[in-house]
C-alpha cells in the first residue's frame, strides 16, 4: 500500500466500513435478482454522494473535495471488493475527468457541481465495435449550419442508458484509424435522435448501445478543440483505466482472500485442503501477482496525480496486469471451491463474470501489451 495522507486513510476506512456494512456482496446479488434494470441502486449511490465520493476529483470551487486519483482509487478498490455497482467510475472519475481536462468554464460550471452533488450522471461513449479501439472512432460529426450532425453507433457505453450527459468521441475529419480528426462532444442522454438500448451484460452492470440518428448539436457542445480530441480522449481513458484497475485490484484481493479462507476451512481426505502443496504454491503465486499488480495500480494513480510523462505506459501496465490478475484469481476461485463454486448461490460466479467484463473494458491485456510496446518504441 502506498503511503497515504491522513485524509486518504480516513476515506479508505470510511469506504471499507460502508461497503462492509451497507453494500456487501449480498446487496449486489439482491440488485441483480431484482427488477432493477439500471445496473445500480440509486439509494446506495445517494449515500455515496452524501459521503462526498462523487466529488473526490472535483475541485472545491465546483462543490467537490478536490482530492486526487489515488484517493478515488482507494474507494474503487473497496467497492471492487464487494462488487458494489455504482456510477462512481463512469461519473465521478471518467466524466468528471473529461470535463476537468477539456471543459471550458461554462461546461465545467454546468456539470461538475451536479456530478459532485449526485444530481447528474455522466458516461463516455468511445468504442463502436466489439473491441476497445479508440483510434477507430468512426461515428461522424458533420458540420451543418452553426453546429454538427452526429451519425453512428457506440457499442458498449458504461452506464450509457442512465447518463444525463454523454461525452461522445466523434470523427470530424480523417478516417477511422487516424488520430487527427477526433472531436469530443457533450450530448445530453435524452437528446432527440439518441436511441439508447440497455444491454444485459453478464456482470449485471449497466452498459448500453447508443445509436445517433442524425443528432443535431450546437457548436458549444464541443468539448475541447475540434479535430484535436484524440489526445485528451487518450488522457481520459488512461485515468479511467487506472481507476478501473483499482477496482479490479479490490475485486482480486477479495476473491483471493475468500478463497484462502476456504483453503483454511474445507476438509477433504481428513486434511484442510490448504495443506495440499499444489494449492499452497498456487495460492502463493496468486499472492505474488496480487502484490505486483498493487504496485502497478498505485504507480498509475500517482502518475495521474502528478501528470507525469509515463501516465500512458503506467496506465496500460496497470490495466493489463489487473486484467491478467482477475482472470487468474477468478478462475482459481471457482476451481479451488470445487463444485460449490460452480453454483449460482456462491459468490465465485459473480466475481468471475465481473472479471471478464472488466478485463475487456478500456482495453484487454492484449490491447495494452500492444500499446505498451508501441509506447516503448518496439
Amino acid at each position: 500500500m502506498a503511503v497515504l495522507s491522513e485524509e486518504q486513510v480516513m476515506l479508505q476506512e470510511a469506504a471499507k466500513n460502508w461497503t462492509r456494512e451497507v453494500a456487501p456482496v449480498t446487496a449486489f446479488r439482491a440488485l441483480r435478482d431484482s427488477a432493477n434494470r439500471e445496473g445500480f441502486d440509486r439509494n446506495l449511490w445517494r449515500q455515496m454522494c452524501e459521503m462526498g465520493w462523487a466529488g473526490i476529483l472535483i475541485p472545491e470551487s465546483y462543490g467537490g473535495s478536490g482530492l486526487d486519483f489515488l484517493s478515488i482509487g482507494l474507494v474503487l478498490e473497496e467497492t471492487g471488493r464487494t462488487l458494489t455497482a455504482s456510477p462512481l467510475l463512469s461519473t465521478a472519475l471518467v466524466a468528471a475527468t473529461a470535463l476537468l481536462l477539456a471543459g471550458n468554464d461554462r461546461q465545467k460550471g454546468e456539470w461538475l457541481p451536479k456530478f459532485a452533488a449526485g444530481e447528474a450522471l455522466g458516461a463516455l461513449a468511445v468504442d463502436e465495435g466489439a473491441h476497445h479501439a479508440p483510434r477507430r472512432v468512426a461515428l461522424t460529426a458533420r458540420r451543418a449550419g452553426a453546429g454538427f450532425v452526429l451519425s453512428g453507433t457506440k457499442s458498449f457505453v458504461v452506464d450509457g442508458a442512465v447518463a444525463d450527459i454523454l461525452v461522445v468521441a466523434a470523427r470530424t475529419s480523417g478516417k477511422a484509424g487516424d488520430e487527427n480528426g477526433v472531436t469530443l462532444f457533450l450530448v445530453p442522454g435524452n437528446h432527440p435522435g439518441v436511441v439508447r438500448t440497455p444491454l444485459h451484460m453478464a456482470d449485471s452492470r449497466a452498459a448500453a448501445r447508443l445509436q445517433f440518428r442524425d443528432v443535431d448539436v450546437t457548436l458549444d457542445t464541443v468539448l475541447g478543440e475540434v479535430d484535436k480530441g484524440f489526445g485528451v480522449l487518450d488522457a481520459i481513458l488512461d485515468r479511467s483505466r487506472a481507476g478501473l484497475a483499482a477496482e479490479m485490484l479490490g475485486h482480486a484481493a477479495q476473491s483471493f482472500e475468500v478463497t484462502l479462507d476456504y483453503l483454511k476451512t474445507r476438509t477433504q481426505f481428513g486434511q484442510l485442503i490448504g495443506a495440499f502443496q499444489v494449492l499452497q504454491h498456487r495460492a502463493a503465486r496468486m499472492y505474488t501477482e496480487l502484490e505486483l499488480t498493487r504496485s502497478c495500480v498505485e504507480a498509475a494513480l500517482i502518475a495521474c496525480d502528478r501528470g507525469s510523462t509515463d501516465v500512458p505506459a503506467l496506465c496500460s501496465l496497470a490495466k493489463a496486469r489487473a486484467g491478467d490478475l482477475v482472470h487468474l484469481v477468478s478462475n482459481e476461485m471457482v476451481q479451488m471451491h470445487g463444485g460449490i463454486g460452480m453454483t449460482d448461490a456462491h459468490d465465485a460466479g459473480l466475481y468471475l463474470k465481473r472479471a471478464r467484463v472488466s478485463e475487456a473494458t478500456y482495453g484487454s491485456p492484449a490491447f495494452h501489451r500492444d500499446r505498451y510496446a508501441r509506447l516503448m518504441g518496439y
Binding site: 466489439a130 451484460m201 453478464a202 494449492l279 476451481q335 463474470k353
Partner: protein
C-alpha cells in the same frame, strides 16, 4: 465375403430402410432440444426420434454388445464397430443418450446378479427408465469415499437417510444408482452400491442453478427412504470397487465425447476472431491473439491425434495404455481454453447475458465459458487426476 462384410451389408440395408430422414446427416448427436434421454417423462418434439429409438431398441442396437438375453444386440466388438461406422457413414443420430447405457449397464453386467440384470438392463436398452447417479455429497467431493449418506438394515428393507449433490438430472430421472454408507466404522470398506426408484417416498430432488444459468444438476435429499434389500448390487460394504469401476466408465465417456460444447464442433475460433477482430491479408489482425489461437488449435490437434493413437494402440496391445489417464485432464484444460478464447475474440459481444444487442451464438459463448469451469471439477477434479497420474502411471509415492 467375410462374415463381417456380410454383416456390414446387412446393417447398411437395415439402416437404409429404418433410419428416419430427420435422424440422418447429424454429427452423431440429435439436434439441440431433440435429445432423447428416455424415461417416464420423455416427450418427443419429433415423432421420428421416437420411431428411431423403438426400431433400434427392438434390435438391441442401443446397447450393441450387451447379451441378447438382456435386450442387447449380442454383437461382437468387431460387429459393433461395423455398426458404428455405418451409422457414422449416414450421420445417424444416437437414438438414446443414457447414463444407464454408459455407466450403470456395464457395471450391472459385471457385478449385478441375474435377477438385477433381467430386471434393469432391458429397460435401459429400450429407454424406458432414465437413471441418475448418486455419488457426491456436500462433504465428499474429491474425497468421494468420505460420503455419509446412511443406509441401515431394517430387517426386511434398508432405510436411507442423507443428501447427495451434483446428481445430474435427478429431477428428470426415474431411478438412481447410489453410493451409501452401510458401515460407519470403516471408510472405503463401509460403502455399498444400491439402486432405487426416485418415486419412493422421502426422495426429493432440487435443481441447482449454475453460474452459467443452466441447471443440469440437483441436490437430492433422502429422508427415511425404504429400499428393498434385493436392490443392493454386489456384496454389502463392497460398493467402493463398483464405484471406482463406474467412474472409469464415466471418465472414458467424458474424455472421448468431449464436453458439452465440444472441440471442433460449433464455431471455429479463427473464423470468430476474423469476424470480430478483423483480418489483414487473410490473417487475424491481432498478432497476439492469433498466436494464442494457433497455439490452442495445435494443442487441440495434438489431443485429437492422441485420442486416436491411444484407441489404435488399445486395439492391438492388450488393453488401454496408461496414458489414457491424461485425457480427462487435457480435455478439460483444452475446452476451458477454447471457451475463453472465444469470449476474448468476441470482445464486448462475448460479454452479454441475454436480450437485445447479442446474438444467440454470442450469449452461448459466455455461458459455455462459464459452464466449462466445471470441466476440471466434475468427474474427478484435475488435481485428483494429476495425483492419479503421478501415483499410478509414474509410480511416485505419497509422503511416508
Amino acid at each position: 465375403m467375410s462374415d463381417l462384410e456380410s454383416f456390414r451389408s446387412e446393417v447398411r440395408s437395415w439402416l437404409d430402410a429404418n433410419c428416419p430422414p430427420s435422424m440422418r446427416g447429424t454429427s452423431g448427436r440429435p439436434a439441440q432440444g431433440e435429445e432423447v434421454w428416455g424415461g417416464r417423462r420423455q416427450t418427443y418434439k419429433n415423432p421420428e426420434a421416437k420411431l428411431w429409438l423403438e426400431r433400434m431398441a427392438a434390435k438391441g442396437w442401443t446397447a450393441p454388445t450387451w447379451p441378447k438375453a438382456y435386450g442387447g444386440g449380442g454383437l461382437s466388438r468387431d460387429e459393433a464397430k461395423v455398426l458404428d461406422s455405418e451409422m457414422r457413414r449416414i450421420g445417424a443420430a444416437a437414438p438414446l443418450l443414457s447414463f444407464g447405457l454408459w455407466m450403470l449397464g456395464p457395471v450391472l453386467l459385471e457385478y449385478g446378479n441375474e435377477q438385477q440384470k433381467r430386471e434393469h438392463l432391458p429397460k435401459i436398452v429400450r429407454g424406458e427408465i432414465r437413471w441418475c447417479q448418486g455419488y457426491s455429497e456436500p462433504g465428499a467431493g474429491s474425497d468421494l469415499a468420505g460420503l455419509r449418506t446412511r443406509c441401515e438394515d431394517r430387517g426386511d428393507h434398508y432405510l436411507i437417510n442423507g443428501q447427495k449433490i451434483w446428481t445430474s438430472y435427478a429431477d428428470q430421472a426415474d431411478w438412481i444408482f447410489c453410493l451409501v454408507r452401510t458401515d460407519t466404522s470403516k471408510k472405503h470398506e463401509g460403502i455399498s452400491f444400491i439402486l432405487f426408484d426416485m418415486a419412493t417416498p422421502g426422495v426429493e430432488a432440487r435443481p441447482i442453478r449454475l453460474i452459467s444459468g443452466s441447471s443440469p444438476f440437483c441436490e437430492t435429499f433422502f429422508t427415511d427412504v425404504k429400499v428393498p434389500k434385493e436392490n443392493l448390487v454386489g456384496r454389502l460394504n463392497g460398493g467402493w470397487e463398483i464405484a471406482k469401476r463406474l467412474l472409469q466408465y464415466e471418465r472414458q465417456n467424458i474424455s472421448a465425447g468431449g464436453f458439452g460444447s465440444g472441440f471442433g464442433g460449433g464455431l471455429e475460433l479463427e473464423d470468430v476472431a476474423k469476424k470480430y477482430v478483423g483480418e489483414v491479408d487473410g490473417r487475424i489482425d491481432d498478432g497476439d491473439l492469433r498466436a494464442r489461437i494457433a497455439e490452442h488449435r495445435m494443442q487441440a490437434r495434438a489431443f485429437a491425434l492422441t485420442v486416436r493413437r491411444l484407441a489404435d494402440e488399445a486395439k492391438t496391445a492388450n488393453g488401454p495404455s496408461p496414458a489414457v489417464s491424461i485425457l480427462k485432464y487435457a480435455a478439460a484444460r483444452l475446452n476451458q481454453e477454447r471457451c475463453e478464447l472465444l469470449v476474448e475474440a468476441m470482445g464486448y459481444q462475448g460479454l452479454g447475458w441475454e436480450g437485445e444487442g447479442f446474438g444467440p451464438a454470442e450469449v452461448q459463448a459466455m455461458r459455455d465459458m462459464l459452464r466449462s469451469k466445471g470441466n476440471s471439477i466434475e468427474g474427478g477434479t484435475s488435481e485428483i487426476n494429476l495425483n492419479v497420474v503421478a501415483k499410478r502411471v509414474l509410480g511416485l509415492m505419497d509422503h511416508q
